[in-house]
């Protein structure tokens, strides 16, 4: 079919992507490549670089940071999923005022600065913070709990920051599930939980997977919240990268650790790319 509007004028349209690609190539990809190349080359020839990478990757600090990062990311993803699923379900099955209210409660934190969100929990969780005060007044505890500057604080902060990503991703999937299916199952005599397990859960599993992937990816590289809310020994890999540059001025070590984190992130993003429509990322 010869369509004048679809032939060459739209080839000119293709060129419109070039400025954005150039921006990313020059200000994003090139600095990354240059950083890895320069910082590693300073260690000598290929043999020395391989030996150096091996030393860093097997060093005690890096190994324990990697283990902690993985467990934290896994735990955060699980918690976020458990907390988000009923929220997203409610969102998908509400209209009008109820829908607007729940969406408002999810979207407001989503668009609030991460440092502000982290700070708000630091205020709540401090030794004399509101949470401890409330627990003491309710008579549940006698002495204040150590919530801030501990792994508990890191988990609470990260779950809070990452929750909206999961809710919005799950909602995007659940929105297209016909509520009539659940009603039909109930009408045919299925129990509530049975109908959920056999009908709703399988239909929403795709959202569960892509939401979990995106939250896990973001949790792996998390820096601000663990750095502010964690204790001295709660060092995640992204913090170790920052410290080796800011405190030790050790660019080579930072490059090796960054490379490990980057490869892990890109592999998971590859899985995400295979399984999900990237246009739906972040619940867009």
């Amino acid at each position: 079919m010869v369509d004048p509007a679809r032939r060459h004028p739209f080839d000119a349209g293709t060129m419109l992507i070039v400025p954005a690609v150039l921006l990313l190539a020059l200000v994003f990809v090139a600095p990354l490549l240059w950083f890895f190349a320069k910082a590693l080359a300073s260690q000598g020839g290929p043999a020395q670089i391989v030996a150096y990478v091996a030393t860093i990757v097997t060093s005690k600090a890096v190994v324990s940071a990697l283990i902690l990062t993985n467990w934290t990311a896994l735990l955060v993803t699980g918690l976020v999923l458990l907390i988000s699923y009923p929220l997203a379900y409610t969102l998908a099955n509400s209209r009008g005022m109820r829908f607007t209210l729940v969406l408002f409660c999810v979207v407001v934190p989503y668009f609030t600065s991460i440092i502000v969100r982290t700070y708000s929990w630091m205020v709540l969780l401090g030794r004399n913070g509101i949470v401890n005060q409330a627990l003491i007044q309710l008579g549940l505890i006698d002495t204040p709990l150590t919530l801030l500057y501990s792994m508990t604080g890191v988990l609470i902060g990260m779950v809070y920051v990452l929750l909206p990503y999961m809710v919005l991703t799950l909602y995007a999937t659940m929105r297209s599930i016909d509520p009539g299916l659940m009603r039909a199952a109930r009408g045919l005599g299925a129990g509530g939980f049975y109908a959920f397990r056999r009908i709703y859960l399988p239909l929403s599993i795709h959202g569960v997977l892509s939401g979990s992937l995106i939250v896990f990816i973001l949790a792996l590289g998390f820096f601000i919240t663990p750095a502010l809310m964690g204790g001295p020994s709660d060092v995640m890999i992204a913090m170790l990268v920052e410290r080796s540059v800011e405190i030790m001025y050790d660019w080579s070590a930072a490059a090796v650790m960054s490379l490990v984190l980057l490869v892990a992130t890109l592999v998971l993003y590859g899985v995400y790319y295979r399984t999900t429509d990237v246009r739906r990322m972040m619940g867009a």
Binding site: A12, G13, I17, A20, F28, F104, S113, S120, V241, T265
Partner: protein, 270 residues
């Protein structure tokens, strides 16, 4: 359509979860209006004391200006380039579209710490650390994916036939772009610009490395102050940032509302 009936337990849970989501932010705003020299909830008395301390301090003022300037630059670059790219992705028949898009979304996937260190690594020898324009360009990289995600869905709603019609009636390619495509996509462009501005205004990690002492942004100053103490002025600055977020969300809502009203009117005419 009716609401699906939800169990009482679920409703109770959702109310609780929503409170936990919103309360930390609400409490912070309330605390910012307190009068004491330490944070205590509920405040004994209210005042604007900490806001006056924030706006009266030249260092916080300078941080505010740096933040605004950087966000304006990042927003302008990301919105224009993002709009062009989104148009190309939606309209042309190029191959590997999905791959290209997922490459362009990488800046929000790659951990910010890595991006920031790499950017610092090339900026330092070029004496670009602390350069407001350069920080704006770097923030544009982070804001670009957000612009793309918003505009891809909004451009998909623009009817290709309108462009075909204008072209076949003899309009030039540029004219079709400026007179048909841009006006039709305007609500999407405005809302992507708003969120691009917000992304840069709230960004911490890249600014932390690139700002130097010259161009500290608000988040960077909060970060630096938090390492010293949890002083009430930070609550006031946070409340200000929350206010900016609220303004962006309200404006975006207004733009969406205006668009849906317009569509409804057009439907009524047709």
């Amino acid at each position: 359509m009716h609401d699906l009936r939800l169990g009482r337990g679920l409703i109770l849970y959702v109310v609780g979860a929503c409170l936990v989501l919103v309360l930390p932010i609400a409490i912070l705003v309330v605390l910012a209006f307190g009068d004491q020299s330490y944070l205590r909830f509920p405040p004994q008395s209210f005042s604007l004391r900490w806001f006056i301390a924030f706006f009266g301090d030249p260092r916080w003022q300078r941080a505010l200006w740096s933040s605004l300037l950087i966000a304006a630059i990042a927003c302008a670059i990301a919105t224009v380039l993002g709009f062009f790219a989104a148009y190309a992705l939606v309209r042309s028949d190029m191959r590997h579209k999905k791959l290209l898009l997922s490459f362009m979304l990488l800046p929000i996937i790659v951990p910010y710490v890595i991006t920031a260190i790499a950017m610092y690594f090339v900026s330092a020898p070029l004496h670009l650390v602390g350069n407001v324009v350069w920080i704006g360009v770097c923030h544009a990289v982070i804001a670009l994916p957000i612009v793309l995600l918003i505009l891809l869905s909004s451009l998909q709603g623009v009817d290709l036939n309108l462009e075909r019609a204008a072209l076949s009636l003899g309009s030039s390619r540029v004219r079709v772009f400026t007179r048909v495509v841009v006006p039709l996509a305007l609500p999407g462009i405005v809302s992507s610009a708003l969120f691009a501005f917000l992304a840069s205004f709230d960004e911490l990690v890249i600014s932390l490395f690139l700002a130097g002492v010259r161009s500290e942004t608000l988040p960077v100053r909060i970060w630096n102050s938090l390492h010293l103490q949890v002083e009430p002025v930070i609550a006031a600055v946070s409340a200000f940032l929350i206010g900016v977020t609220a303004a962006v969300l309200l404006l975006d809502g207004a733009v969406r509302q205006a668009r849906s009203n317009k569509t409804a009117r057009l439907r009524a005419i047709a």
